[in-house]
Amino acid sequence: MNKHSKIFFTAILLQFLAITAFSQAEKNDLSLSISYFNSNNHTQYLVAHAKSKIDGKFQMIPNINLSFYIGSEDAANLLGKAVTNDKGDALIFIPPAAKDEWKKSAKVSFIIVSQKTKEFDEAKGNVEITKAKIQIDTLADKKITATLMELKDTVWTAVKAIDVKIAIKRLDADLNVAETPTYATDSLGVASADFKRDSLPGDSKGNLTLIAKVEDNDVYGNLSSEKVVPWGKSIKYYTEFDKRTLFARRGKSPIWLELLAYSIVVAVWGILFYLIGQIKKLKQLGVS
């Protein structure tokens, strides 16, 4: 290899390294986190969140392929796979197949792993929760109680000094039952609230759905429990659809409009038919 060839190949190698280094520098770090949810003590699911700092701002990252594991990152412990949506979230329900791994301990860990993409390297996230459950109940005088229990070894034990949200479940958000949104549990694991929302619109039977929640707790994750109570005001849903209106479909035009229109048509066309009759009369007069 002569001197010129050495310089040439060195330049090519340097250029390759520079491009590789540049392309690696272009990749942003992907941050993965995971939340555990237990709804009504029987539906358990995980929600993963993918975000990255791009141009100095955190942005939610869609279309990231994620694998969810329980306990360890073994193929046998794979719970499922999901892809993040536009909000950077991916959800899976914990399948019954994970029952054995779930029962091993009072504490369970979940792991998520992302696949390597053009934009991001492989990333991981994990969460460890202590198994817990919450139970909502009602007493006389519209008193609401929520009892929080955690699993210690094999025994359910009351948890004290945890904030529990007690609210009425509405379409998009929760409505406080009184002035205070959250209530701390006592030594028996019970949080109590008084229902002070009289005449609140319920369904057609006046039913409201009460909900007790532990939200984003570092130890227990997200727990919720619901109960339907007849404490609301009965609301009959009224719709103009299928009524006789100016905006209804054919066959549902207002009676007054039909009467008006048809009477005008009958009156005018009655005159026209009368006049056609007069032509017939003229013919008879001309023949006789």
Binding site: R250, L285, G286
Partner: protein, 436 residues
């Protein structure tokens, strides 16, 4: 035996064969009709994509033509009904001209609506599934009604003339025409009982046609005014449309008066006096329409709401300004200036003024329809460039011109077959005058 004067009237007013000019005129009209038909076949074959109509401007010159035809058809009620009921005897020679204009215009108004449809074979669905709440259904009902009222109003006064035509079979020179006269009016014996029934029927029709005529153009205006768009969102629209319709109809009658007088040498029947009187009617109607125009444009311009600014400024000083001021000038201002003077109400200047009214009124209809569609309240966003402007394609021009030629052809052929001035009524009026 018929008196000499009566004989002269009959000879003067019987339909005449086409001369050289008449044949050329019919040939030109037929050529335009054929061109329109060819263009329509192409449109049927390839769809509305051959037109300049797109998502925003879905009503172009077809609907402008429709509104124009509906407007011009109103003259039947003005001359025949209003003037007859007000006992303005001078209008007798003009009644049949105005009625045939009304019939031909309303016929082509109905046809041009179908032309505007992308799938005309689905037209029957309007009757099967049309909503009574929709002004479009009202329009279909009222146009059909107006057509039949106008046909009857044309037919009843024609019966005595039909009997005269049958007496002069040799003049027509065509056996099939004589057969048609026999079919349509052989029963007319001019008896007192028949005259009584006929006069009563004409009076009933004259009364009936006025509300129907008002309804037809009010409903047409509601096709626009019941939608929420700049320029159409107006409570003034019904009256605005009716005043404009009377104006263009009267203008068309003046034009037709001049042409028939010239072509059939009817100077003894359509006199200078008729031009003078129709000129005064035109001035009145032009002033009335001008008043509604001032209301229609000055009030929104004074407020100049942001959402309507683009539309209004487009008309006053923007892309439609030339057409806008042309229409205002030719349909109203210049005719008023011509006809307000006595010498302006002579036949030729009145004819020119009438022609200006008709041409200006067509462009006025174009301005009512198109600019509004190009200025929706919600801005056009991310649409193809062809959606943002409108200019008719040759197919649209051909169909529009073909429909105008078709309307003129109906009038021309009617004048070839039937007396364009009522013969019996003219004789009766002269006899009444002599007796008086």
């Amino acid at each position: 035996m018929e008196s000499l004067a009566k004989q002269k009237i009959i000879e003067d007013l019987l339909p005449q064969k086409f001369g050289k000019v008449g044949k050329i005129w019919v040939g030109v009209l037929l050529a335009f009709c054929t061109l329109g038909l060819v263009a329509y076949i192409l449109q049927l074959k390839n769809g509305l994509v051959v037109t300049g109509l797109r998502d925003y401007v879905s009503w172009g010159i077809y609907i402008s033509n429709f509104v124009f035809f509906v407007a011009i058809s109103l003259v039947g009620s003005l001359i025949t009904a209003v003037l007859r009921l007000s006992q303005a005897k001078w209008s007798t020679p003009l009644t049949r001209i105005s009625e045939i204009i009304a019939v031909s215009a309303i016929t082509f108004a109905s046809l041009i609506i179908i032309v505007d449809m992308g799938r005309p074979e689905r037209f029957y669905n309007l009757f099967l599934h049309g909503r009574l709440q929709s002004p479009i259904v009202w329009d279909v009902i009222v146009i059909t009604t107006y057509f039949f009222v106008s046909i009857l109003l044309l037919y009843f006064p024609l019966l005595p003339d039909m009997a005269i035509m049958m007496k002069h079979k040799d003049v027509t020179g065509m056996p099939w025409l004589n057969k048609m006269y026999t079919f349509l009016g052989s029963f007319w014996k001019n008896t007192a009982a028949q005259i009584h029934i006929s006069e009563k029927a004409i009076n009933i029709l004259s009364i009936t046609i006025i509300p129907v005529a008002f309804a037809i153009h009010t409903v047409t205006s509601w096709l626009f005014a019941t939608t929420y768009r700049p320029g159409w969102d107006s409570t003034n629209f019904g009256a605005y449309f009716i005043s404009g319709a009377f104006l263009v109809g009267a203008g068309a009658v003046v034009v037709a008066m001049f042409v028939f007088r010239k072509a059939y040498k009817l100077e003894n029947y359509i006199k200078d006096e008729h031009f003078d009187k129709m000129g005064k009617v035109l001035v009145l109607l032009a002033l009335l329409y001008l008043y509604f125009n001032v209301n229609e444009f000055l009030v929104p311009a004074f407020k100049m709401k942001k959402s309507e600014e683009e539309h209004l400024m487009g008309l006053f000083t923007g892309e439609f300004a030339v057409v806008f001021w042309f229409a205002i000038s030719t349909a109203m201002l210049i005719p008023i200036i011509i006809l307000i003077q006595k010498k302006g109400r002579k036949p030729l200047p009145a004819f020119i003024a009438g022609l200006l009214v008709v041409v200006g009124s067509w462009f006025k209809r174009y301005l009512i329809v198109t600019p509004t569609l190009l200025h929706p309240f919600l801005p056009m966003y991310d649409v193809p460039k062809s959606y943002t402007h409108y200019f008719p394609t040759w197919q649209e021009w051909s169909i529009a011109l073909g429909s105008l030629a078709g309307a003129l052809l109906i009038i021309t052929i009617f004048a070839r077959i039937f007396p364009i001035i009522p013969i019996q009524e003219t004789i009766n009026e002269i006899e009444e005058h002599e007796q008086a």
